[in-house]
């Protein structure tokens, strides 16, 4: 990995500074190290030999949320989030990789069961200090920064993984034709199982068959960390698993996974064979939100009316360009009043290893989000990414709001509000 290859893309930044408006990190710090212009300037500085690979680069490279907001307002359309990942990859090579990343990416993420067990073990052992495993797990967005020491986490952490309850394999549905693959993200598998159950209900109602996949982590955590090797291994493992069966569509209720699955061809840049394999499957992947929007789903009525607002996961709104569908779905449910919140598409601050490594910053970004949530007075804060759900719930607790966080599937099936 060498950022020199991206010299052209990096030089395309003309330093206009327009990304400053969009970047949640910059808006919290006001420091150039936290904005696309600055990150690109440093990478250009490295290429042009004014800046050296040292630990000083860790912050500017790793405090990027990868949310892509900068690119959306970038005059020159510079793909900073992607370039930063390349920068991270080279950083890991030149400055060094930490053992806990190896542990996470190579030992835990490829094996969902191991991941779940490790999480339980770490949660129970929370009082005995942060173990190495706990630290590694804390890097995962789905568990959240406070994972290893937070109260209540044991009660919240289900005793068996989702796929312990719903074994991988084919289930019959009530639909006529569609053969659906259900990709289980780590978040649903390990924690947000209620959301998973509701998603499964929706899929079963619409599909002729629903296959709960025996996939592993999509690879996004490794990719965002810049560990491209590990990301490729995980992606390949999944691609091979999918191609052994035949589906009309592969759905996931995690927008982050969905966006990364769609990105697989990019992960294999320069590796033609695997890129072709990825390319062939890309058209199959759908975010749960797209799936519901396309196929429709009628909700049981008779519930008390509720007010909801929606948080756009970065990987939905910018990663996949989904922003209208989720709102349309919510607006069309009887008894649901949808209220748009200000800056709904702003990152919640929980991205990647972020919440762990840049706690204060992450909380600043999150607090801003909570102010916006509060202004809507919504009963439910809905989103479509289990990792965002963890971060948002943390924010709600911090801010002492009454709003509840849930997955869009839970609103669609009527599981929320309860009763």
């Amino acid at each position: 990995m060498n950022i020199f290859e991206d010299y052209d893309a990096i030089s395309q930044c003309n330093k206009c500074g327009f990304c400053q408006e969009a970047c949640p990190v910059f808006r919290s710090t006001g420091h150039e190290s936290g904005v696309a212009r600055g990150r690109l300037a440093l990478m250009r500085g490295i290429i042009e030999d004014r800046v050296q690979w040292t630990k000083e680069l860790e912050d500017p490279l790793f405090n990027c949320l990868g949310c892509g907001a900068c690119t959306a307002s970038c005059l020159a359309d510079v793909p900073t989030a992607d370039l930063v990942i390349k920068g991270r990859a080279e950083y890991l090579e030149k400055v060094g990789r930490k053992p806990i990343h190896k542990l996470l990416f190579e030992q835990l993420l490829p094996y969902p069961k191991r991941l779940h067990m490790a999480a339980r073990a770490a949660a129970f052992g929370k009082n005995s200090g942060m173990s190495k495993v706990a630290k590694a797990l804390g890097l995962l967005r789905i568990l959240g920064r406070d994972f290893a020491k937070a109260e209540n986490i044991v009660e919240k952490l289900p005793p068996v993984p989702f796929r312990g309850l719903v074994k991988p394999g084919e289930y019959p549905g009530t639909g006529d034709t569609l053969r659906i693959g259900y990709f289980i993200g780590c978040g649903v598998d390990v924690i947000q199982q209620e959301a998973g159950q509701e998603s499964l209900k929706i899929l079963k109602k619409i599909g002729k068959t629903v296959t709960v996949l025996d996939n592993c982590c999509c690879g996004l955590p490794a990719w965002t960390y810049g560990d491209i090797d590990a990301a490729q291994k995980l992606a390949l493992k999944n691609l091979e698993a999918f191609s052994s069966q035949s589906f009309d569509v592969i759905v996931t209720d995690c927008s982050s996974c969905a966006s990364f699955l769609k990105k697989y061809p990019k992960v294999f840049q320069g590796d033609e064979k695997n890129q072709d394999l990825a390319q062939a499957q890309t058209p199959l992947f759908q975010d749960m939100v797209e799936f519901i929007f396309k196929n429709g789903y009628s909700t049981p009525t008779g519930k008390s009316p509720i007010v909801v607002t929606f948080h756009d996961p970065c990987h939905a709104v910018r990663g996949q360009g989904i922003s209208r569908e989720n709102r349309e779905i919510l607006k069309n449910i009887q008894g649901v009043e949808f209220r748009e919140m200000p800056e709904a598409d702003w990152c919640c601050g929980g991205a990647g290893s972020y919440a762990l490594t840049h706690y204060d910053l992450s909380m600043k970004v999150l607090d801003r989000k909570m102010k916006n949530v509060e202004s809507t007075e919504a009963d439910f804060l809905v989103t479509s990414c289990p990792a965002c759900m963890i971060q948002l719930s943390h924010g709600i607790r911090r801010a002492g709001l009454n709003t509840k966080v849930c997955h869009i599937s839970e609103i669609v099936t009527g599981a929320k509000p309860k009763g």
Binding site: D8, S11, Q12, N14, K15, C16, G17, F18, Q20, E21, G30, H31, E32, S33, G38, A41, L42, G45, R50, V51, Q52, T54, E56, L57, P60, S73, C74, L75, A76, D77
Partner: protein, 883 residues
């Protein structure tokens, strides 16, 4: 050089985490949006004014240069430290401190972005007019630093027209407040000077902005042309027809192509140019305006004109314009954007020149610019990785500036000089002009530590003034060749040689003005300076000698249905234009039209060394150099003798109509507060007492019943509509007895009242924010002996401008001090426009309490007029600061 100790010192002030000194930290502040680069020694992020002050003091002690920085989006190298100094970044100053739509102002910290202010104001139905295309990421501090403009500036003017006050940290660390919500404080226009000073005079830590109520409706049009020259011609035809759209933006073929490729917003790909024209205001009359524009375009070879049918279509049209820079930016890694300005009618020629220059240097150029005010923005594309290309675009940029100046324009309309255009200053200013500007900077910053070595070209021998030379390109008309100027120069020389001071007498209308000093003064007349040096009615400006009377000027302009929309109070028919500049005064119409400071484009004056110094130019957008025009305006002749001035003009309104209704003061005030942020645009909002002498004699003479008088000026049907709406609004507040009448354009409504007030021994002017007018009245009424004066029936409450004009029979020292204190406590100020000689000898007519900013004024005075040659006594704080 920055050393370890200094860094420790900084860390003590702002905390370690707010100091950046690492290699990467430095690299991150080595650039801004311009092409200039340079490494700072250290970067700090203070949290409050106290910290800024301490930082400045620390830097002073070590002799380290300081560069203030907002979000670093300026295009002239203004935030680059070229001496490896201290960069003070104000990004943490990000709070909006207060919004007061009823008084039309807001207070913000300098690190707030322009867009954040707009969003906050929109919630209360108000807006802030300057709207740079970079508004999402440009801070108010940066806007003020560069005197930024945007599309809306065609109608509303640039940043300088909308900054009321500031808190600044001076080069020695002193914290000072200048201006504020109350208009035009006595003495020099320091905030006028600060705006556009590019961080070289002081560091801004707070700003008071003038806000306006949002208009009701808007019509946006896209005019398509097959010939770019025809588009340019339409622009000047629209303006010279007397229509003032709020925006008139142009894009050429390369830009259209690029925009359509990235955004696709419906610009025809085969067009040579498009114009985006927008008019806004009351619904009534707006359609007619749009029709009129359409007609003008069509007679000027417009292919097609499309009117946006709804908000969506409107957004789409603007999306193209706002994304234009970006779309172009995709065509090449870098661009140099030039922002030279020309008189509007020269746009076709300027475009032709730009094309030829681009061909000569073989660089691609796209034009997207503020056509309405002649502000070009040619974008020259290149790749900075290729040294040869960089040199070529720099040369092309230089030639474009030359071409524009040759057409009577200037080198920068809104982006500033900074480092990039420093040498080009010689195109438009003489050596003496530039040395004078530098002298003012050094009055603020004697050690030259604030953003040093920028704006003014460097002299060959460091530390010495520039040698004498004439501007290399610009030919300034007038000067010593005009009538009366040589005589005045001789008179000044004689007085100087005789060790005397001089005071200008124009028509001798203002001999009662200012304080009386011990110095022996010689009167110098400007009355013979009556030349009309250049009157360009198409471009709507006039340059004329200082001795011409305002009355005479209006007559000349009337022949072209134009005028200078100023009705200064206490101004006789003969009062000269020079005195209008010197005093900078304005009547109640200031709320709608502005003051002399808003209409002056440039000046020439004789300075204390007997030289003719030029300021500004003749184009409406001009940010080249420090704003000497504003410094001179309202300086009461204490910096030099103004010989000629260039004024911006307007087309005469069709109709001037006033209405009056009567009620008690509280009801009037309630109506005022609503009217100030309503969807109505009065030329003035005033009240006068109804009955002259109250019944009971002596105890309570404050008038009970007031007549509110509100005027409207503009297109007849719009005026009629507003008068009607306004009467409804006043009626809602229980005001009664509606009367309406047309009033004369030149004399306006208040000539008689002002004349009456001026008959008293004392003529008093007090100012505060509109929302505090009642409090100010209470202050007056609470002072012993003032309330009981019969003359108090001569009042003019200028609500729209937050001012009170009144007459007094007597005023003693204590009363004067109390009045001053009272006004200051309401963020206001006081001023005696007229007072008996004794008072003027003993007291200070500019205020009974010393104000800290006056010391700064005297520093400037001392630098520019060391022997106090000009108008002694006409500055505030005479006793304390003058010898």
């Amino acid at each position: 050089m920055v050393n370890e100790n200094f860094i420790r010192e900084l860390e003590k002030i702002v905390g370690k985490s707010n100091v950046s000194v690492t290699n990467t930290g430095i690299e991150l502040y080595s650039y801004d949006a311009s092409l200039v680069k340079g490494n700072p020694g250290v970067v700090v992020f203070p949290a409050n004014t106290q910290e800024v002050s301490q930082l400045v003091k620390a830097a002073n002690k070590e002799g380290i240069d300081i560069v203030p920085r907002g979000f670093g989006t300026n295009l002239s190298g203004g935030t680059i430290s070229i001496t490896h100094g201290l960069v003070i970044c104000l990004s943490r100053f990000n709070k909006i401190l207060g919004i007061h739509p009823e008084s039309r102002y807001a207070v913000v910290q300098p690190g707030v972005t322009n867009l954040e202010v707009q969003q906050a104001l929109a919630k209360v139905g108000a807006f802030y007019a300057p709207d740079p295309a970079s508004q999402k990421v440009a801070t108010l501090g940066g806007n003020a630093g560069e005197n930024s403009g945007g599309p809306l500036c065609l109608k509303y003017g640039v940043t300088s027209n909308h900054i009321l006050g500031m808190e600044i940290v001076m080069a020695d660390g002193e914290i000072l407040r200048i201006g504020g919500p109350a208009l035009d404080p006595p003495g020099f226009d320091l905030r006028g000077l600060m705006v556009g000073s590019e961080g070289a005079m002081a560091i801004t830590t707070e700003l008071t902005l003038r806000t306006l109520p949002k208009t009701q409706s808007v019509i946006t049009m896209l005019a398509v042309y097959d010939d770019i020259q025809a588009a340019a011609l339409s622009v000047s035809k629209i303006i010279s027809a007397g229509i003032l759209p709020n925006t008139l933006e142009m894009m050429d073929a390369l830009v259209i192509e690029a925009v359509e490729a990235s955004i696709s917003c419906g610009y025809p790909l085969d067009a040579a140019a498009v114009l985006i024209i927008e008019v806004e205001g009351m619904i009534v009359g707006l359609k007619e305006q749009a029709e009129q524009i359409k007609e003008i375009c069509m007679t000027n070879q417009c292919r097609d004109i499309k009117i946006a049918k709804n908000q969506e279509e409107r957004n789409l049209l603007w999306k193209g314009r706002k994304g234009a820079f970006g779309a172009i930016a995709r065509l090449a890694p870098n661009y140099l954007v030039n922002d030279a300005t020309v008189p509007r009618t020269s746009l076709p020629k300027a475009l032709e020149q730009i094309k030829i220059i681009a061909q000569k240097y073989e660089c691609r150029v796209g034009n997207v610019f503020h056509a309405g005010d002649g502000n070009m923005h040619p974008l020259l594309l290149f790749d900075s990785r290729n040294e040869g290309e960089l040199e070529q675009v720099h040369k092309a940029g230089w030639d474009i500036m030359k071409a524009c100046v040759d057409l009577g324009g200037t080198i920068s309309g809104e982006h500033g000089i900074g480092r990039e255009k420093q040498e080009a200053m010689k195109m438009i200013f003489s050596g003496d002009d530039l040395n004078t500007q530098q002298t003012v900077k050094f009055a603020f910053d004697p050690e030259n530590i604030l953003n040093p070595n920028k704006v003014i070209p460097l002299s060959k021998s460091p530390g010495r003034p520039l040698e004498s030379f004439e501007p290399t390109i610009l030919k300034r008309l007038g000067g010593a060749s005009c009538k009366g100027v040589v005589q005045a120069m001789a008179a000044i020389k004689n007085a100087k040689d005789a060790g005397k001071s001089v005071i200008v007498v124009g028509a001798d209308t203002f001999s009662h003005y200012g304080n009386i000093c011990k110095q022996d003064v010689t009167p110098v007349s400007t009355l013979s300076m009556t030349d009309i040096i250049e009157y360009d009615s198409d471009n709507q400006f006039i340059t004329l000698g200082a001795g011409m009377s305002l009355h005479g000027l209006q007559e000349i302009l009337g022949k072209n249905n134009q005028w200078l929309p100023l009705r200064p109070p206490f101004f006789g028919n003969k009062a000269s234009m020079g005195s209008l500049v010197a005093m900078g005064i304005s009547g109640p119409e200031r709320m709608f039209y502005g003051a002399p400071r808003d209409f002056l484009l440039g000046l020439q004056y004789i300075d204390s060394q007997g030289r003719i110094i030029s300021t500004g130019g003749k184009v409406v957008k001009n940010v080249a150099g420090y704003d000497m025009t504003r410094l001179l305006t309202g300086s009461n002749g204490s910096l030099g003798i103004i010989t000629e001035a260039t004024w911006r003009l307007l087309t005469r309104p069709e109709l001037c109509k006033a209405l009056s209704m009567t009620g008690n003061l509280d009801d009037c005030f309630g109506a005022v507060l609503e009217l100030m942020n309503a969807n109505l645009f009065p030329a003035f909002v005033t009240a006068v007492p109804v009955n002259n002498i109250p019944e009971d004699n002596g105890t309570d003479q404050f008038p009970k019943l007031w007549k509110m008088v509100v005027g409207f000026e503009g297109m007849a049907n719009v005026v009629e509509h507003q008068v009607e709406q306004c009467s409804l609004l006043l009626g809602k507040h229980k005001l009664k007895e509606l009367e309406t009448w047309d009033y004369p354009l030149i004399d306006g409504c208040f000539k008689d009242i002002f004349n009456k007030i001026a008959m008293a021994p004392y003529t008093l002017k007090l100012a505060t924010a509109t929302g505090k007018m009642l409090d100010l009245i209470n202050v007056i009424n609470s002072i012993d002996g003032i309330k009981a004066q019969a003359r108090m029936s001569d009042w003019l409450l200028d609500f729209g401008c937050g001012r009170i004009f009144s007459a007094l029979d007597s005023l003693d020292k204590d009363q004067w001090a109390s009045l001053t204190h009272g006004a200051i406590s309401l963020d206001g100020h006081v001023h005696l426009e007229k007072a008996p000689d004794d008072f003027r000898r003993e007291q200070d007519v500019f205020g009974g309490v010393l104000r800290p900013e006056w010391a700064m004024m005297h520093k400037i005075k001392k630098a520019l007029d060391p022997h106090s040659l000009f108008a002694p006594g006409r500055m505030p704080g005479k006793k304390e600061y003058e010898v």
